[in-house]
Symmetry: C2
Subunit: 379 residues, 2 copies
């Protein structure tokens, strides 16, 4: 950050909770941030003077938004890449780079990239239609993923049997061998323009059995230091092979054979890094800002073990959000509540998250269950 | 926080850095915050949808601002108390209570309150004019304080000799015996409506020799645990005797005889609590919110020793602020930068603060000196 940093104009595509927490962190650096989002009630809306209501997928809207910005970044990858390419060609710094966003928008390209770059990942075949998936029944049990537009658990389903094949996606996608994994891990890695990289400690993800959404996150992951090193090195390898600037979340499987496979990547701040706000020296949100502005990256050291609990809209409730049980949570020590300012709830919508800190992981896990049972978002 | 909290309307009188950091913390709780400040470029301005530009001292402006709010609080005590009293009489919750703000606006009333309540404080006499101060020359060496309108070191001066008497304030004020102190301490204490109180650990303040502004803050203070207990108990005693709801900063002298005397109090978040953002489980800003909304108070436990350095405008520079040396600071581990978004700098203006964390206080102190020398705010 030079003496002129505070006059930089930064544009963020997307106004959801990831943008909101980034802006919350950016307040400390006097940054001038503008946000584009189609929802006039987006979580970022009340926090920025410069909010544009508009489509993230429309070329003109995105291009016009980027004009006059010094740096443009994203908090969701479903954006118009062509507009970003044009803005970048005219001198706007776009991080992550548009080509990387394009790669990640399409899970087919993502997987093909891993294969070409010898990045370990589950075996797969590309499929164009339901018909096509059916033809690969020898590949089962497998995970069927839509190529595009998947998000927050949508566009991903398990196909175990021939019967399941009936529900296969009838659009371009892929079929991936179901991995027999010990646990799911995530490493968030940052890289700035000068090529400096830093990884956050490996975390372990526990998914909601039905919704394919992270329910609990445990930091650090309960794995050997050898596996930690391997996972961190893999994350660095991926971001370097992408030649990417910004923050990259690398979700991985640790298999029963001690192999680590890349599952999916996201070129932005990520649900698997929310605990860094309290549990690490630098938060993922500050690290993202440091990376895209080419500042020195901050220390990622953990200051405490932690568990993160996603606060999801209760099944069966839609409408104006009400929060039950928060009083009880507020009375618990070292329980940090983050609500995302969403006015409306719906089943399994991400409404907030809670981070718990404690030196002992077992008591953390117990407390996390209590937190989960205590807090309900209803309408 | 009940299920309806997020529809509470909160008004803040003052839009400076204290309000800004409170809003930054309040983002996590979906609170609807409005700010009143005379400066259209106030640090809070870009962070709130509802900003009113107007005088904090004008009855009508303050009263109109309070109308329709559920809770009103302050981040500066120089506000129209009569308007707050009227709003409170009409059902708006005003914390700290207007009567307490009135008491604290006038150092003469403050000192008289300590005396009446047997709260230990330095001996003093009330003075109405320079003439009056002169008449008390037997009281020297002493500190001459203006009754009203002092802030950030203004309105306070040391009168050592008869010669110094020439510069005595020619307005109602007081003359206070110069205390032979070992160190200056501060305890921030919170109290909610149900009477729950919690103190932050005692910190030690090191003042700039000329400007009477905090230059460094050390947490924890280098004092015995007996003195810690005594200081904390004194802070609780003061807030209970005031019957105050909110956050109270109690600045104290530890004398060479091991006595603790109350120096000054501020009924709001305070410069001596900025390190709590990183160094304590709950920050003073969140604690203030918890107190005024009658939520359970958060744990004040320290997670690490810390030093806070105020970032003051460099002497000799006025105009559009530029920050020299921030790049170097960004490269130092566990150095947390907070800039206040002030467009213009002037000599000794508070432009930001920096918090350093480390397990060893001696290396922290060395690093703080380096930080101080590295960062310059010029124009």
């Amino acid at each position: 950050m030079s003496s002129t940093t505070t006059s930089l104009k930064i544009g963020v595509l997307g106004g959801g909770q990831l943008g909101r927490m980034m802006i919350q962190s950016a307040i400390d650096f006097n940054l001038d941030i503008a946000v584009l989002d189609p929802d006039p009630n987006a979580p970022c809306r009340p926090l920025v003077a410069d909010f544009t209501e508009g489509s993230l997928k429309d070329f003109d809207t995105v291009y016009t938004f980027c004009k006059g910005k010094d740096v443009v970044t994203i908090e969701i990858e479903h954006v118009n890449v062509e507009a970003l390419k044009k803005a970048a060609s005219e001198g706007v710094k776009v991080f992550p780079q548009p080509e990387i966003i394009a790669l990640i928008q399409d899970k087919r390209k993502q997987k093909t990239f891993y294969k070409a770059q010898r990045i370990p990942t589950a075996d797969f075949v590309l499929t164009d239609s339901r018909q096509d998936v059916r033809a690969h029944h020898a590949f089962l049990p497998a995970v069927n993923k839509l190529g595009k537009e998947g998000y927050d658990g949508r566009g991903v389903q398990v196909i175990r049997t021939k019967q399941d094949l009936e529900k296969a996606f009838d659009q371009p996608g892929l079929l991936e061998k179901l991995v027999d994994f010990e646990c799911e891990l995530s490493v968030i890695v940052a890289r700035n323009e000068r090529g400096e990289t830093k990884t956050f400690p490996v975390v372990e993800l526990s998914y909601h059995p039905e919704q394919n959404l992270v329910e609990f996150l445990f930091a650090p992951a309960n794995i050997s230091s050898e596996m930690e090193t391997k996972a961190a090195a893999l994350a660095v390898d991926v971001i370097e092979k992408l030649d990417m600037v910004g923050l990259l979340a690398v979700e991985m499987f640790l298999t029963s054979e001690g192999e680590i496979l890349v599952n999916e990547i996201a070129p932005r701040t990520h649900n698997s890094g929310h605990q860094t706000i309290e549990a690490n020296v630098t938060s993922q949100f500050e690290q993202h800002i440091r990376a895209i502005l080419n500042w020195p990256l901050g220390s990622t050291d953990a200051v405490s073990p932690s568990v993160m609990v996603n606060v999801l809209g209760e099944d069966g409730f839609s409408g104006k959000a009400k929060y039950q049980g928060i009083d009880e949570l507020m009375a618990m020590d070292n329980v940090h509540i983050h609500l995302y300012g969403k006015k409306l709830t719906k089943p399994f919508r991400k409404m907030g998250h809670i981070t718990l800190l404690d030196s002992d992981m077992e008591s953390l896990k117990k407390k996390a269950r209590i937190v989960k049972e205590t807090l309900k978002v209803i309408a």
